[in-house]
Symmetry: C2
Subunit: 145 residues, 2 copies
């Protein structure tokens, strides 16, 4: 009886996603290095950049962090005067997060770095491939929920 060669890990979707995510995230992190900001903080700032207050729960969902992790990351950002908390008057269990002026200024610089990465990818990987990939990812995410 022959050994059944199991499917290589590199053919698993879960692995390919992890690998691609790691690589792209690393490149983005490298660009953000000079601002000294992790990618997660950019996500937070970006979500808050609409000027509306967002609750911690909303934020956690949007920026792909679980609650305690977000709480502590926000603590750091408050220390850095990038964001601030306001208790929601309508539902006093909630805390609404806002971006400070300093946070907004940083957001713009980070946005620009992120856009430049997007442009770099589109150029090296191809516009069509990039668009196709995004579409497939969106659809996977939708199905997975």
């Amino acid at each position: 009886m022959a050994k059944t060669p199991s499917k290589p890990i590199t053919e698993h979707l879960a692995y390919l996603l992890a690998q691609a995510n790691r690589e792209i995230n690393r490149q983005l992190d490298a660009r953000f290095r000079k601002e000294g900001v992790p990618v997660e903080q950019w996500r937070i700032l970006k979500v808050l950049s609409d000027g509306k207050g967002h609750s911690m729960g909303e934020l956690a969902e949007a920026v792909l962090l679980n609650h305690p992790t977000l709480t502590k990351m926000v603590d750091r950002m408050v220390s850095d005067a990038l964001v601030y908390r306001v208790q929601d008057a309508d539902d006093r269990r909630k805390v609404l997060m806002f971006s400070s002026d300093r946070g907004k200024a940083l957001t713009q610089r980070l946005n620009s770095l992120a856009l430049s990465q997007e442009a770099f990818i589109a150029e090296n990987y191809g516009n069509k491939a990039t668009a196709d990939l995004k579409r497939l990812l969106e659809s996977l995410i939708e199905k997975a929920n």
Copy 2:
């Protein structure tokens, strides 16, 4: 002058990858729950399942962990008698990792859980979409290196 509405975060490739990765990884983790093994350990076991010894450096690369993290995870797996270390006779700086019998048995159970997830995805998301997505991810990873 109108406010320039910045590109929503959900349109950034980096974000879509992070989101998809998080979701798929969660589902896989949920399946592995009953074995009490994190996804990273499955990757390690899977790479070692060829029976050849793999150095820590090789492994770290293959399983998407950096060296110190891998060292400590391997420590835990050695405690659990899933893997063991052997100093490489040809290059004594290196340590070769091997899977124990217990590790191999666990690997099979995990492989089966992972395959069932793959099947589930292929079914719900579509065979063609899954294949296309994998192809695009492989190509992105290749370009990104």
